[in-house]
C-alpha cells in the first residue's frame, strides 16, 4: 500500500473510440457547436484582411473586394453565415435555459425571454446593417 499521494488502488479508465462524439445526438450537436466556432474565427481572419487591405490604399482595397466578391467567397460566406446562424439559434436556446428573471415574485416565462432576445437581436442587426450599408 502506498500512502504518498500515488495510486492507492488501480482505476479502470476506458479509452473512448476516436469517433465517440458521432455516436449520439447530444454529442453530435456539441461537436457541431465546436465546429461553428471555427467559422466565426474564419470571419475574424477575413475582417483582419479587410482592414489591412483598407489601410494599404484604394488599389489593395479594390483587389480585396474583387476577392471578396468572387463566387468561391460567396459560397464560403454562405457557409460561414449558416454556421453563425446555427450558433445563434443554440445560443438563444441555452440562454433562455440559463437566465431566470424574477419580476414581482413571478418568474418570467422562457418564451418571453426568448422574444425579448429576438427583438433585441433584430434591433442590433438593423442598426449594424444601417451603418454598414447606408450611413
Amino acid at each position: 500500500m502506498k500512502e504518498d499521494g500515488g495510486p492507492r488502488y488501480p482505476v479502470l479508465v476506458r479509452t473512448p473510440s476516436r469517433t465517440w462524439w458521432l455516436r449520439a445526438g447530444p454529442y453530435r450537436r456539441f461537436a457541431a457547436r465546436e465546429i461553428t466556432s471555427m467559422f466565426a474565427a474564419l470571419f475574424s481572419a477575413l475582417l483582419i484582411a479587410f482592414l489591412f487591405a483598407l489601410s494599404l490604399g484604394p488599389h489593395a482595397y479594390g483587389r480585396f473586394l474583387s476577392f471578396l466578391g468572387s463566387t468561391g467567397m460567396l459560397a464560403a460566406s454562405s457557409l460561414i453565415l449558416a454556421a453563425v446562424l446555427y450558433h445563434m439559434a443554440t445560443w438563444f436556446r441555452l440562454t433562455t435555459h440559463i437566465v431566470v428573471i424574477r419580476l414581482g415574485g413571478r418568474t418570467v416565462p422562457r418564451n418571453a425571454i426568448l422574444a425579448a432576445l429576438v427583438v433585441a437581436w433584430l434591433a442590433v442587426s438593423a442598426a449594424v446593417a444601417y451603418f454598414l450599408i447606408w450611413f
Binding site: 499521494g5 500515488g6 495510486p7 492507492r8 488501480p10 482505476v11 479502470l12 479508465v13 476506458r14 479509452t15 473512448p16 473510440s17 476516436r18 465517440w20 462524439w21 461537436a31 457547436r33 465546436e34 465546429i35 466556432s37 471555427m38 466565426a40 474565427a41 470571419f43 475574424s44 477575413l46 475582417l47 483582419i48 482592414l51 489591412f52 489601410s55 484604394p58 482595397y61 479594390g62 473586394l65 471578396l68 466578391g69 467567397m73 460567396l74 464560403a76 460566406s77 460561414i80 453565415l81 453563425v84 446562424l85 450558433h87 445563434m88 445560443w91 438563444f92 433585441a120 437581436w121 442590433v124 442587426s125 449594424v128 446593417a129 451603418f131 454598414l132 450599408i133 447606408w134 450611413f135
Partner: protein, 149 residues
C-alpha cells in the same frame, strides 16, 4: 421518467469504448490559484465571444460576406472612401476590435477541447498554448490593422 428510459445501458456504454487502460487517480494536477484565475479569464472571454458571435456576427457576415458577393449591396456601400471614413471613427474601431477579437477567444476555448475530443491529441498544455496564442496573435493583428487605418 423519459430521461431514465433513454439513458444508455451500462453494457452499451462499455461496448462503445475500445480497450481499456489502468490509470492512477492522482494523474491530474491539483488546480492552483493562478491556474484557476487563468481558467476563469478564459471562460469569461469564451462566454463574451459566444455572445458576440450570436448577436453581432450574423448581420456582419450577411452584409459584408453574402450580400456583397451576391451583388445585393448598393455600389457605394463598400466604396473605399466611405469605408475608410467609417473605419476612422474611434467607436467603429472599438466595435471592429470586439467583433474580431472576442469570437477568436470563443474559438480558442472550443478548439482547445476539439483537439482533445475530435482529433485525439492529448497534449493539453500545448493545445491550450497554441489556441490561446492564435487568439492573442489575431487580437494583436486586429489592433495593428485598426491603428494603421
Amino acid at each position: 421518467m423519459d430521461e431514465q428510459s433513454e439513458s444508455p445501458v451500462l453494457g452499451e456504454v462499455l461496448d462503445w469504448s475500445e480497450g481499456g487502460q489502468v490509470a492512477s487517480r492522482a494523474r491530474r494536477a491539483p488546480v492552483r490559484g493562478r491556474q484557476s484565475r487563468a481558467e476563469a479569464l478564459a471562460w469569461a472571454l469564451f462566454s463574451a465571444g459566444g455572445f458576440v458571435s450570436a448577436v453581432l456576427l450574423p448581420i456582419n457576415v450577411a452584409v459584408i460576406g453574402v450580400a456583397f458577393a451576391a451583388g445585393w449591396l448598393p455600389d457605394r456601400a463598400l466604396a473605399y472612401s466611405r469605408v475608410l471614413h467609417l473605419a476612422r471613427n474611434p467607436i467603429v474601431k472599438l466595435y471592429l476590435l470586439v467583433v474580431i477579437a472576442l469570437p477568436l477567444y470563443h474559438w480558442a476555448h472550443r478548439f482547445r477541447f476539439a483537439i482533445h475530443h475530435q482529433f485525439g491529441i492529448h497534449a493539453k498544455r500545448l493545445a491550450a498554448a497554441a489556441c490561446y496564442g492564435t487568439a492573442l496573435a489575431g487580437t494583436g493583428l486586429a489592433v495593428w490593422a485598426v491603428l494603421r487605418i
